[in-house]
Amino acid sequence: MLHPFAKHLINRTLVAVVTLFIAFNVSYLLLRAIPASAVDTMLASVAQLGQRLDPEDYIRMRQTLMELFGLTGSPVDQYIAYLRRFFLLDFGPSFMAFPTPARNIVARFLPWTVGLLLVTTVISWLAGNTLGVFVSFVKNRRLSRTLENIAIMLYPIPYYVLSLALIYIFAFLIPIFSLSPVSVPSIRIASISDAINVAIYFFRAAALPAISIIIVSAFGWWFLSSRTLSISTITEDYVVFAKLRGVDIGRIRGKYVLRSVMVPQVTALALALGTIFSGALVTEYIFAYPGLGSLLYQSIIIGDYPIALTILSLSIIGVIISMWLLDTVVYYVIDPRIRYAR
């Protein structure tokens, strides 16, 4: 007889693999739906952009596209080839910097996106939850109401719409932040001064996108959800019983209320971290932040499918891995009801 957790682990892993497989198949089928004539239109648009193309390069590009859209070989070959590309994130040479593999180009931009979203997700999670739980403890209903109303207005607004509003304020009315970064410094760090330069550059470039992400997600989602959770926990029978026992207020807030709010919130954090590859593509582009968003925009203009597909599979894999971690490790650590399931 297996330990219940081992069973759970196997079960969730299976689900993750199947989900990944389905997601893969969906993206495969959708690409199959693209008509063959599209390939030449795409290549025409690459040529239009004035890139100097050798005839050989042109043929190789055509080859890549034909293969990606399943226009060569038998269906079985196509499927296996695509499967390999999907999981190795190897979609062939990029068009914008032919013949550098798309994978390498994505890898160059990836740290910027991951850095931005990792930092902003963690900051907004901390800020939003602290404020939400704090407000639910405070007796002042006026404050609670006001904050709730602001949050409810912010919640449905996507990051990029707020970015546009912010860009208007900061670039036009109060020009503090630079909006057009000079050039992407190489991420390779040889000396301390390099590291400092990269850090300064990062903060300058990341400030505005970070602010717009943090405002929406901290004061929208995290604040609202933690406040609601906390208010409903305070009225739970086990919290009332603790009050009746004369347990100190501080301890009730920490060990009873906060502890229980943390379970769904850590869960949601794990899910949010799953989207660090694709969470703020539009915002990144709007602020000309040198992350995947800006890269994606470039690749769209040129019709650089290898890069777009690499970003897509990366996002899918990211979300599914985070879901798997959530179902297994995170729950195991934070919820004793799962850890010690009978």
């Binding site: 029978d237 086990y238 009332v240 019983f241 004369g246 100190d248 502890r259 010690y340």
Partner: protein, 328 residues
């Protein structure tokens, strides 16, 4: 009554209402006068919504934000007498609750913190009230639990790993931890099957006897009152309508409402159809004038509709709030 008649808890002219809006309030408890002696077992009976749960919360001094109270609840402690409704909450939390009085709430199966081990519930209280160090608290908790006839390893478990009956026993054990003088039990055995009900109640009664605490049991279940209590208090629509020694009460309840309650109980050998009480209890937002029971009372008279009945006193502390017993 075996331990003597030293008074431990007195309630004087208690009113309690839930404020719904500035113009609207639910008058859950109206004009209640009570006294409890040390060591006795008192039952509070009445149907759901009659204010009995609110009454015990007030007696315990636990006032929820929307509850507004008047009156005094006097508790005898080591150094004198205090009014639970006027001392501040911090003082009750630090010095009174659990040390002098404890409380077993409704739904006692699901009131332990699901994220804390059972043992931490005990050590938390020992550390706070007896200023024990952690190791000491763990040792004391272990001994205490074994003393109560539970296995020591329940302390290491999380609540969800134990059966419902076990969790209820833990709650009872928690309530007795500091040997309180008064234990309030609000519907301690609802949502439990009859067999477990009996076991749990017996457990509570044994421990109460051993510690000489006063036990106040609130329940709508008249059979529990018959089995466990020495004195019974019947509530109807926020009023105490009758107060009597339990044994005598069951033989001859005086208030018409009490009679209806007793008549609804099945008896051995009686094959007749049980008599129910017509109508609904009144709204506590706008209680009827006069006696609150008059719309459902089979003996209602003119005066019942106009004036609130006085309390009539008899021997053995028997008291009835009804016009039928007023000599004119």
């Amino acid at each position: 009554m075996s331990i003597g008649n030293t008074s431990i808890l007195r309630a004087v002219d208690i009113y309690g209402e839930y404020v719904v809006s500035p113009l609207l309030s639910v008058k859950a408890v109206t004009n209640v006068i009570l006294h409890m002696n040390s060591g006795e077992i008192v039952g509070i009976a009445g149907e759901s919504g009659c204010g009995k749960s609110t009454l015990v919360k007030i007696l315990y001094g636990y006032i929820e934000p929307s509850l507004r109270v008047r009156g005094r609840v006097l508790l005898n402690i080591d150094d004198g007498t205090i009014d639970l409704l006027s001392v501040d909450e911090e003082y009750k939390r630090g010095r009174i609750w659990w040390r002098y009085i404890s409380y077993i709430p409704q739904n006692s199966m699901n009131i332990l913190n699901p994220y804390m081990r059972v043992g931490d519930h005990f050590t938390e209280l020992l550390k706070k009230h007896l200023n024990l160090e952690k190791d000491e608290a763990i040792r004391v908790a272990g001994e205490y639990v074994e003393d109560l006839g539970l296995r020591k390893d329940v302390l290491k478990a999380f609540p969800h790993q134990l059966s419902g009956g076990m969790r209820q026993r833990i709650v009872v054990a928690l309530s007795l931890l500091l040997k309180p003088r008064v234990i309030f039990a609000d519907e301690p055995t609802t949502a439990v099957d009859v067999v477990l009900q009996k076991v749990l109640l017996q457990y509570l009664l044994d421990k109460q006897k051993e510690y000489g605490s006063t036990l106040i049991i609130v329940t709508h279940d008249m059979s529990i009152h018959a089995m466990a209590t020495e004195r019974i208090i019947v509530m109807y629509a926020g009023h105490v309508v009758e107060e009597a020694p339990t044994e005598l009460f069951y033989e001859d309840p005086k208030h018409p409402y009490s009679r209806a309650l007793i008549n609804s109980l099945p008896r051995l050998g009686d094959k007749g159809i049980r008599q129910g009480l017509a109508g609904q209890p009144p709204s506590l937002i706008n209680p009827p004038p006069g006696c609150r029971f008059h719309p459902r009372c089979p003996y209602s008279m003119d005066i019942c509709r106009r004036e609130e009945p006085p309390i009539n006193k008899y021997e053995n502390g028997w008291r009835v709030k009804c016009w039928l017993y007023v000599k004119r």
